[in-house]
């Protein structure tokens, strides 16, 4: 049981690390897709089937696509993926911070008494999920819908670029 988890974790983290350390932006994104898939696998492993597929659909299907688009739209030449200059110190600091955070978190997790007994998987079918969504968090659902719409429109507006403003109107 735990070996599967370890496998998933290893794959996810490994791909993520390589992606974030890599030089080729495109490879990074594809690796990210893999690590997202790993997370989906984790969801599947812990029985959250719906969440897993949603994760795969949204991240691999949509977000990675959008990122790829962004990459294609924002590069001078194909070989624009040169590593950032003079960032060794920064990278070092970043890794230091990361390890510190990880250490603290893991320490906190390890030192806190958490339910040790593996409980049975809570049964959640799509239907029950739907009912639950329509229950208390219905308002949140609506809000999320609005949020997504607004985000869509906003993204379009921002990315579409601004029309030249007339000198007449005030700043």
């Amino acid at each position: 049981m735990n070996s599967v988890l370890a496998l998933i974790a290893l794959a996810t983290i490994g791909t993520a690390v390589t992606a974030l350390a890599g030089r080729n932006l495109l490879h990074s994104v594809l690796l990210f897709a893999v690590s997202w898939a790993g997370i989906a696998a984790f969801f599947l492993w812990s029985g959250a089937e719906f969440a897993a597929f949603a994760q795969a659909l949204v991240y691999i299907g949509a977000i990675s696509m959008a990122v790829l688009f962004a990459i294609l739209l924002t590069r001078h030449s194909r070989d624009d993926f040169a590593p950032e200059p003079a960032l060794a110190g920064r990278a070092f600091a970043a890794v230091l911070t990361g390890t510190a955070v990880a250490g603290v978190l893991i320490w906190a997790v390890a030192s806190s008494p958490l339910a040790a007994a593996p409980s049975p998987v809570p049964a959640v079918t799509v239907r029950s999920l739907g009912w639950q969504l329509m229950g208390p968090p219905a308002a949140a659902l609506l809000a999320t819908g609005v949020l997504l719409t607004v985000a869509l429109i906003g993204a379009v507006v921002i990315a579409a670029g601004e029309r030249p403003s007339k000198p007449g109107d005030p700043p």
Binding site: F50, A51, A66, T74, T97, V101, I106
Partner: protein, 103 residues
């Protein structure tokens, strides 16, 4: 370590990796991806607690995750749009060069 703690450790490491990436890289897209990764780590926690934590209503964690996935999607969309806008202004998406608001 109990399975729950393993899951949490997993998510913490993932979070840290995302954080380190977001800090280390100067490419806006990679920073955004790092932040997405941090979000994912949070999702892992939701699921982990839903799976092993004290029993709440049977699908709370999943609902949480769904919401946060939706939010993440929105965030990614807007973030990428912003990156493109930045790129249009100064022909680069390196964050250090995008510090022109300072004054």
């Amino acid at each position: 370590m109990s399975p729950l703690q393993l899951c949490l450790a997993f998510s913490s490491v993932l979070f840290a990796v995302g954080l380190a990436g977001a800090l280390a890289r100067s490419n806006a897209i990679l920073v955004l991806l790092g932040i997405e990764l941090m979000l994912n780590a949070a999702n892992l926690n939701f699921i982990a607690f839903w799976r092993y934590g004290p029993a709440t209503s049977p699908s709370t964690g999943v609902i949480f995750v769904l919401f946060s996935i939706a939010v993440a999607a929105a965030e990614a969309a807007v973030g990428l749009a912003l990156i493109i806008a930045i790129y249009r202004h100064q022909r680069s998406i390196r964050l250090p060069e995008a510090a022109r608001l300072k004054g």
